[in-house]
Every structure is written in structure tokens, then in C-alpha cells.
């Protein structure tokens, strides 16, 4: 199967073999077992499990909050990337280094920190409560937690692309009379969109599956603030392995279809016509 570039360099068989064996043992076989386990169900049984009202409510909540969190990140992530690439100002290096905090911080720590901030008695939550807004224990709180844990994705995908766009292009456009919004629309948006979509997709995929940061702030009320991963956990605690597996399979399939669609969209943007 191999067509080597460089026959002098040894190790092809060894490294490829090791890679495949390791991946199979750790990732592929266990995932396959889940699909095999789910295939013991008839199509009707599977459908009944994944369309139960409680599951559908969790599905809507998980994908909806992950989508909104990814959109919010699309905005503030682009803002942060822009500020970090285009301007020099005091504290720039600290912000740049701290952007990755959500990846380095255990999600449970993020979860309890955000909950402490946004409960009705919390530092920010009390002001929201005065205005009659409930942040923690509502879908709003879930979105907030997901926005935190996926914050670095858009920044880190947009940042290098933005740094590579020559400033002269925008300056030329401005000198030719383009207004800032026109420069943004016709020069920056087309150049940044593929990277932006990648960041969006990564944030979305991570958000759908996220568990640790969400369960503290969510309140975990069935039908209202119960996310899909938690529902899998609940089924496992009840020894309902089949139910948990069916939901897991459904979740993976929906995620893959969505990622595939985003991928296709990206290709269409990158190769116009």
C-alpha cells in the first residue's frame, strides 16, 4: 500500500503498524463495540429510545446551547484575535497567554467557578437576579459555561490567518475610497471565513460533548436543563446500558453529520465556482 517518498528513511512499517494497533486498541475497537452493542436493538427500539421526550429535550438543549456558545465565540473570538494581532498595548502578552486558560484549567474547576459567579447570590448573579434574569440553573448558564470552555478555538484559528494578511491590501482599499465596513466585507471576511468556520466547528463539537463545566451550573432538571452527556450518565447509573448506548450513538452520528456539513461549506467557500 505504500508509495514512499524517501526509501532511505527507515521505520515506515514499524511506525504505521504501531499507530494502527494503538489507535485500534484505544479508540477504534471500543467505539466499534458501542455501535455493535447498539445494533442489537431493532430500528424501532432505537427510534423509541432516541425520540423519547426527555431525550429530545436534552438533544435540543445540548445542540442549541453549543451552537449559541460557538456563535458568541465567533464574535468575541474574532474580536480578541483582531486586538491581539493588530494592536500593541499594555497587557497584550498576558491576554495572549491567558487565552488558553480554558484548555489548561480542569473543566470541573471552571464549572464551580462560574456557578459561584452566576448563582442569584453570586458576584454577578445578584445583579442579574435584581433585573429578574436567572443565569445559573438555566440554559443561559449552560451557554455561558460552554462559551468559557471553548473560548480559545476561534481565537487560535483566526489569529494566525489574520497575522498573514498583508496590511497593504487594506490600506490600498482604503486609499481607493473603500469605507471601513467595505474593507471588512470584501477583504477581511473572505480571507478569515474558512479559519473562522474551523474554529466554530471545533467549538461546537466540543460544546456538544462537554460535561464537567456544565453539570455544576446547569441545575440538571430533566426536560429543562439536562444536557445529553448527563442523560447518558443518568442511564448508566440506572444500569440502562442499552439506553445509554443508543443515545451515545445518536449523539455521535448527529455530530458527525453536522461537522461534515460545516466541512462541505468550508470547501465551497475556499474554492469559489
Amino acid at each position: 500500500m505504500s508509495r514512499r517518498i524517501s526509501p532511505v528513511i527507515p521505520g515506515f512499517g514499524l511506525t504505521l503498524g504501531y499507530t494502527l494497533v494503538y489507535l485500534s486498541l484505544i479508540v477504534l475497537i471500543p467505539l466499534a463495540v458501542m455501535f455493535i452493542h447498539a445494533s442489537q436493538l431493532s430500528a424501532a427500539q432505537f427510534w423509541n429510545i432516541v425520540t423519547a421526550p426527555r431525550v429530545l429535550a436534552a438533544l435540543r438543549l445540548s445542540f442549541g446551547t453549543a451552537f449559541f456558545a460557538a456563535i458568541i465565540n465567533g464574535v468575541i473570538g474574532t474580536l480578541l484575535a483582531w486586538v491581539l494581532v493588530r494592536y500593541t498595548f499594555p497587557g497584550r502578552k498576558i491576554i495572549d497567554a491567558m487565552i488558553d486558560l480554558p484548555f489548561a484549567l480542569p473543566t470541573a474547576v471552571a464549572g464551580i467557578a462560574l456557578t459561584a459567579l452566576y448563582t442569584p447570590t453570586g458576584f454577578i448573579g445578584q445583579f442579574a437576579a435584581d433585573m429578574g434574569i436567572k443565569i445559573a440553573y438555566s440554559p443561559f448558564g449552560i451557554t455561558l459555561a460552554l462559551t468559557f470552555v471553548t473560548l480559545p478555538f476561534v481565537v487560535r484559528t483566526v489569529q494566525p490567518v489574520l497575522a498573514d494578511i498583508p496590511r497593504e491590501v487594506e490600506e490600498a482599499a482604503a486609499c481607493l475610497g473603500a469605507k471601513p465596513l467595505q474593507v471588512f466585507r470584501h477583504i477581511l471576511v473572505p480571507a478569515l471565513l474558512p479559519a473562522w468556520l474551523t474554529g466554530f466547528a471545533l467549538a461546537f463539537a466540543r460544546g456538544v460533548g462537554e460535561y464537567g463545566s456544565v453539570i455544576f451550573i446547569a441545575g440538571n432538571m430533566p426536560m429543562k436543563t439536562e444536557i445529553l452527556p448527563l442523560l447518558i450518565m443518568v442511564k448508566l447509573d440506572q444500569y440502562d446500558y442499552t439506553g445509554a448506548t443508543a443515545i451515545g450513538v445518536m449523539m455521535l452520528l448527529v455530530s458527525f453529520v453536522l461537522l461534515l456539513l460545516i466541512n462541505l461549506l468550508q470547501r465551497r467557500i475556499e474554492t469559489p465556482n
Binding site: S6, P30, L259
Partner: protein, 290 residues
């Protein structure tokens, strides 16, 4: 100066003045987002952890259950990170040094664990090794426990951190190409000599970067470990799980004290990351100048 160039110059000036205002607004907004999303949670964790003073803080961290959770977390990191380093180097080697059919699929498969929910990562091992799993009866016969015990925690940690090292190394090694290795071979080095004396020095900082990210995730993993842990205090609890237990017992000060410990580790990891990143970009710059 002609009229048209005057107009162009003045409009460029106006644009610059406009951009000076928007510059300030955007930097201000950037700071606001940073303070609101990143700084505030950090301050809350430390503040709540210290709310009973330093004594309470250390009491929570040095309590036996916390220490055994710390030990288990270190244990899981020490097994999963080296395994994923060996895997990452092997995977990056075959992906970057050779071309073969199915390479794109292989790269996708390496990234797969990133798009699988951690809870599913735990679930699949329960289905494999749990009492009612595929290997359940056999394991029971031989009195081996994987799920709800240490091996399960380690396996789940390995699963969620599989891609980190490979992901950092693949682009780096693809950029570096194969010339140096070929030269080493032609000068008579054997495979291992070539690897240790040519490849490893070249990829060292990328490797450190990958290890740092991998360690961060391994020490903080919650969902996957939560599924396969038996939640037995002092036995199968990692630090993040210990935080959850304390929090759910309304022992908030202790929960935030242990969380502060994890936060300090996270900040240390960010520092290491920054340092290895700076080294990588310096290497890239040197390579570009040559």
C-alpha cells in the same frame, strides 16, 4: 502636490483618525472580554479557596482523601502521557515522512477522540470491560477489575488525550521534511542514531508543547473519568472528582481550595506552553532565514 493626491492624502488621514478611535474601543472591548471571561473565574476560585485563611486552604489540600486523589491524578498522568508521546511520535513519523494511500483517513482517525464526548469515551470502556461488557465475564473469572478501578481511569485518560502530541508534531515534521534524516543515513547513521541525533533535536520543542497540552488535559479530565471511576473516596477519586464530591457536600471552601491547587497547576502549564511556543517560533524564524 496635485489636487487628487491631496484628496487621497486627506482621506487616508481621516481613515487613520477613525481607526485610532476604533482602536481604543476595540482594545477596551478586548480587555473587557478578558476580564469578564478569564480573569473573574480565576479570582473567584482563589478568593473562595482562601476564604477561611491559609490554614483552611492547606487543611483542605493536605487532608488524606485529597492527597490520595492527587496521587491518583499524578499516576494517571504519568502513564497516559508517555504512552501518548510514543504514539504521537510514531504517528507523526509515518504521516510526515512517507506518502501512502489512506493517509488523510489516518489523520482523521487520530483526531477522532476530540470530537467524541468524554462521557462516551467512558461509556465505551464500560461496554468493553464492565460486568456486562464484552470481556466482563472473562475478567470476572480471572478476578481482574478494569472499570470502576484504576485501569479504567487510566484508559479513559489515554483516550481523551490520544491526539495531542501527534497533532503538534505532524505539521512541524511536515515542514522540516526529510533532507536532514536522509543526509544522516547517507553518512552512515543507522535508524536509531538518525532518530536520536537528528529527528529528536529538531522536534524537541514541538514535543514539549504537545506534552504540556496532553498533561493539562490528562490532569483535568472529568467526564470520561467520572464514568469509569467507582467514586470511592480515597481509592478511585482523581483531583477533579474530589472537587466535585466536596462541592456537592456543600464543603465549598475545601472544594475551592483543591480547585485552587488545580488552577495553580494550570497556570504553570500555561507558562510552560508559552515558553515552548516561543522556542518553536524562534526555530521557525531561524529555519526561514537559512
Amino acid at each position: 502636490m496635485s489636487d487628487s493626491s491631496l484628496i487621497a492624502a486627506s482621506s487616508a488621514n481621516a481613515a487613520r483618525r477613525g481607526s485610532a478611535v476604533s482602536r481604543r474601543i476595540l482594545i477596551g472591548l478586548g480587555w473587557l472580554v478578558f476580564a469578564f471571561f478569564l480573569l473573574l473565574p480565576l479570582v473567584v476560585v482563589i478568593g473562595q479557596g482562601l476564604s477561611n485563611g491559609l490554614g483552611g486552604f492547606f487543611a483542605a489540600i493536605l487532608e488524606p482523601d485529597a492527597l490520595s486523589a492527587l496521587k491518583l491524578t499524578v499516576f494517571a498522568v504519568l502513564i497516559s502521557v508517555p504512552l501518548n508521546v510514543v504514539f504521537g511520535v510514531a504517528a507523526a513519523w509515518c504521516v510526515s515522512k512517507y506518502s501512502f494511500r489512506g493517509k488523510a483517513i489516518l489523520v482523521t482517525l487520530i483526531d477522532l477522540p476530540f470530537s467524541v464526548s468524554p462521557v462516551i469515551a467512558g461509556l465505551i470502556y464500560v461496554l468493553m470491560f464492565g460486568a456486562r461488557g464484552v470481556f466482563g465475564p472473562w475478567l470476572q473469572e480471572h478476578d481482574i477489575q478494569i472499570v470502576f478501578a484504576l485501569p479504567g481511569i487510566v484508559l479513559a485518560t489515554i483516550f481523551v488525550t490520544v491526539p495531542f502530541v501527534a497533532r503538534e508534531l505532524i505539521p512541524l515534521m511536515q515542514e522540516q521534511g526529510t533532507q536532514e534524516e536522509e543526509a544522516a543515513r547517507l553518512l552512515g547513521a543507522n535508524g536509531w542514531q538518525m532518530f536520536w541525533h537528528v529527528t529528536v533535536p529538531n522536534i524537541k520543542w514541538g514535543l514539549i508543547y504537545g506534552v504540556v497540552l496532553c498533561t493539562a488535559r490528562a490532569m483535568g479530565e472529568f467526564g470520561a473519568v467520572s464514568v469509569v471511576s467507582g467514586h470511592i473516596r480515597g481509592v478511585t477519586n482523581t483531583l477533579p472528582l474530589h472537587v466535585e464530591i466536596l462541592y456537592n457536600e456543600y464543603n465549598h471552601v475545601a472544594a475551592f481550595a483543591v480547585a485552587s491547587l488545580l488552577l495553580i497547576l494550570a497556570l504553570f502549564i500555561l507558562l510552560l506552553k508559552q515558553w515552548s511556543e516561543a522556542r518553536i517560533s524562534r526555530l521557525r524564524k531561524n529555519a526561514a532565514e537559512e
